[in-house]
Symmetry: C2
Subunit: 328 residues, 2 copies
Amino acid sequence: MARRDRVGITDVAAKAGVSVTTVSHVLSSRRPVSEATRAKVMAIIEELDYRPNELARSMRARRTNTVGLVVPDITNPFYTAAARGLQDTLAPAGYHCIVTSTDGDPGTEREVLRQMGTRADGVVISGVGKTTADIQPVLDSGIPLVVLGADLPGGRFDVVTNADRESGAAAAQYLRDKGYRRIAFITSDDDDATAQLRVDGYRDVVGDTPELVVEESVSLEGGNRGVATLMELSEPPDAIVCVNDVVAIGAVYGAKDAGLGVPEDLAVVGFDDIEAAAMVSPRLTTMATASREHGKTAGELLLQRINDEKREPQRVVFPATLIERDSA
Amino acid sequence: MARRDRVGITDVAAKAGVSVTTVSHVLSSRRPVSEATRAKVMAIIEELDYRPNELARSMRARRTNTVGLVVPDITNPFYTAAARGLQDTLAPAGYHCIVTSTDGDPGTEREVLRQMGTRADGVVISGVGKTTADIQPVLDSGIPLVVLGADLPGGRFDVVTNADRESGAAAAQYLRDKGYRRIAFITSDDDDATAQLRVDGYRDVVGDTPELVVEESVSLEGGNRGVATLMELSEPPDAIVCVNDVVAIGAVYGAKDAGLGVPEDLAVVGFDDIEAAAMVSPRLTTMATASREHGKTAGELLLQRINDEKREPQRVVFPATLIERDSA
DNA sequence: ATGAAAGCGCTAACAG
DNA sequence: CTGTTAGCGCTTTCAT
């Protein structure tokens, strides 16, 4: 007897000798029920271990109490933290969260968004391209949308993102204030909007010095190669800001391999504050992204929007915060 | 015009001049439809940008095409990877995944499980206590369940877990084979079944040497203190296996601070193979857990079970695999 | 304080 | 090849 047939509200009503209406109302308290009836019904509910079918409820209410989270890869710590933040605000409000990793494939992305239209009351999406076309399906379905980590222009959706340019500037400024004179940047060799913004910010403070900006793969090895390249310059840098922590850690090892002291001979700062940043030696100084906060905020925005269709779209930007450790 | 009213199958039928049945069938291909009608209907669907209401479908079909994933904290890399693995197998099958972090609270855990009964076709749960009582709600609801990472006894659910004891033994054996003679263990000071199993396995190979097993908080500092304690022994160890990588990394730094060479003076092996393991110096030798595989397998088991209620409960156990790097 | 009955949007007998 | 009709399990008018 693997699955005793689901007991429905009708069964409860029958056994309690009342109408389904009444059962419904003892559950919702949306209209008075005599104490006697209520007790009787509750007893039966207990006895039958009745649980209302959420699906049927959602269908009637035209509200699923569910939101979707669409990310390229939930395994990426930034998205993981954001997912958790989203749940932090959603769970207390009685919402569930469907999460989907798309690997950045526009096809699945679109397909998922289509489905979310009827499965969710809102969706937060991140890692989408620069174009609004990607999110057209959700826009069309009319459900609230918040875009995470990309500053998409226009449209009836909320945006929560990093102040990437400002953070790039802040990293460079920090180094400069510390007395470093020749500050380099190891960036991504992919076309990455975030990376580009960080570089732009860096340029805002150090000016345009092409030979000091090198493009590398975003990996330990990339960081390694990056310092190698940089140290061959006739006038090598005394500090490097790296597009993220993985590259920065690679750079630190590259420097140490080259016999350079970090930070005495070469200072290194990263971005993101991944878990490993505090575990390497020297511990990495980095610009931390409030990823969990991003998620939380996205959730709040979504909830507001779900409850007030008319609210004007908002844009919230989080500055990165400098975590000063030992590498710079 | 924030939300143009959802267009339903009735609207399509009306505008196409056919019955809803026909529309339904051009969508499902569950019965023949003349090419002319099909074309006409498709055109209208396109024109109206009609999308079937998944909720209504689920309700009729008594199948939600959704499974639940219940974990203590999605932010924990083991669970993140498992979540991804789960999606790896679920997405191609057309399933969505609702993920919930419970922070290990039995109350929310129970509440979530209750709801899943009607929202999901199956659930995978992990990080539950040793008792079957925790999962009673799902068991009662009759939907398929797979328990991840804990070897709960009995019941009609599948289990996928680590061979923790065997892995503990393997770690110790590896060290012994390398010629280390006095092997210690830094374990958790919490009551943690996994930790206990790893210690048991270690004991299986080195025997019972109480002074060599120390309990510490699971943190960098714990690892630090662990080595400190151990090195004060009249006969200090020449190798340590740590309950996980964070502790192991702490131990490595503890050893270096004490002027010990790793692995010459003190070898260290961890568990889990977290991202940082490959980023510290010396790079950490560790017993890797196939967490993504766990999730994948859980998904397969769930799918099988959803499609065949009668299938006997299964138990799949993954051995850890040794990642040999520089710390041992 | 309580019921009867109409649907939410869809699928699947059952009938042509 | 196509349509009519009865629900899935619930909430909510509208009555009483």
